[in-house]
Symmetry: C2
């Protein structure tokens, strides 16, 4: 290509990027915030405030601000909605069908997060924010059911290879609780001995030499995740 052609192309590109119609797409982030309670995987939903979706729930999200990195937007949403930071949060996928949003063109980038529902810092900011068992969710506003299903799928794929589910539990937990979480996510009951063998091979856990207290039956031993595997302060580890 000759230099003159390149200059023409550059002008063309710059013209395109500054033409107003190419800024007619808004960008949002939507957060699939998972928790664990009542032996079931839960997700945080908010009552939709749009008349098109009255009576439907939707995922918490917000538009990305022009002055924030894409990846910080979901942390902001999470902090605003739950008061939590230092949480596991990972990008999943962008969703951008033309008609996914009734009030205009909005491309959204989905993130999923895992938090401990009983964490002392957790404070839902909104009366319309509630935990829902994922099993009971049939319909959501926008394309949020598709987003949720995509995130559940990714979660299932990752939990065997990465130390993620610990983010759903308090710092100290028993192997029984841990197994319950795994079973809730993959929806399969596991053999207790094989599960313990699998977990112990990962070398993720520290035996605290403590026992559960106030259990109705024989208490189990307590463990915690080794510090080097915690999901925040950096990236997730293998």
């Amino acid at each position: 290509m000759k230099t003159a052609d390149k200059e023409a192309l550059k002008r063309k590109t710059n013209a395109k990027i500054s033409r107003p119609e190419f800024f007619n797409i808004a960008i949002s982030v939507d957060c699939v915030i998972f928790g664990y309670a009542k032996k079931e995987l839960q997700v945080l939903l908010i009552k939709s405030n749009r008349k098109e979706f009255s009576e439907l729930y939707s995922l918490p999200g917000d538009l990305v601000r022009p002055d924030e990195d894409l990846d910080t937007a979901p942390y902001r949403v999470l902090k605003e909605k739950t008061g939590m930071d230092d949480v596991f949060l990972e990008q999943v996928q962008a969703f951008g069908a033309i008609d996914r949003h009734p009030s205009g063109r909005v491309i959204t980038i989905a993130y999923y997060s895992l938090i401990d529902i009983l964490h002392h810092k957790l404070q839902l900011s909104d009366n319309d924010l509630h935990w829902h068992s994922v099993k009971n969710i049939n319909q959501l506003a926008f394309d949020h059911k598709l987003i949720l299903d995509t995130c559940i799928h990714k979660l299932k794929e990752q939990i065997m290879d990465h130390p993620l589910v610990f983010n759903l539990l308090p710092e100290k937990f028993s192997l029984r609780e841990l197994q319950d979480v795994y079973e809730a996510i993959i929806n399969i009951t596991l053999d207790r001995r094989n599960f313990r063998k699998m977990i112990s091979l990962k070398k993720w856990l520290l035996d605290l030499n403590e026992l559960e207290i106030n259990t109705p039956r024989r208490p189990g031993k307590l463990y915690k995740l080794k510090k080097e595997y915690s999901s925040f302060n950096g990236q997730k580890k293998k």
Copy 2:
């Protein structure tokens, strides 16, 4: 929340979505188009036409049009640049650091694609478009090196579980060629017998009972991917 509050929130949201500064973010797609030649994984790059990145290469991409689905944009780019459709193409990740683009706020969504460099339909549309061996790429314009590395990582993760690499080869190929492609991607030499056993366990291939022709040595048997595993005409299969 009371109804009046909800109405207020709705107005607030609608106001935000239509305030011009929230459309100040442009959306692009960037395509990491992989090919295979000279026993190495190749990627299609274009000479950057921006003075900030003179002499650097970049990934082919374009702004998403307001009237196209997000996922069709990379197909359009691919068709424009290579003349190819019916190709494997999958979304990888969105990249959205504030300063990733020198001329303004652009969030990009990366896709990766696998094509047969020797396909008869392949026709590079631009004299500045060329194949580069991924081994030799140290620096790219924008954050494209990061995008490329992310896509290579995803490719490596997927090739053992999904019938993807066949998209890099002509319809008929020998097991030797197939093994070469795998080795080029994962950068490890494999044992021939174990490789063949692994591939035959997947049941992806159809034995054509044909032999290579015009080989300098003993010709190998030819295979092709079973139709039900081809990546286009629907989603990738397990």
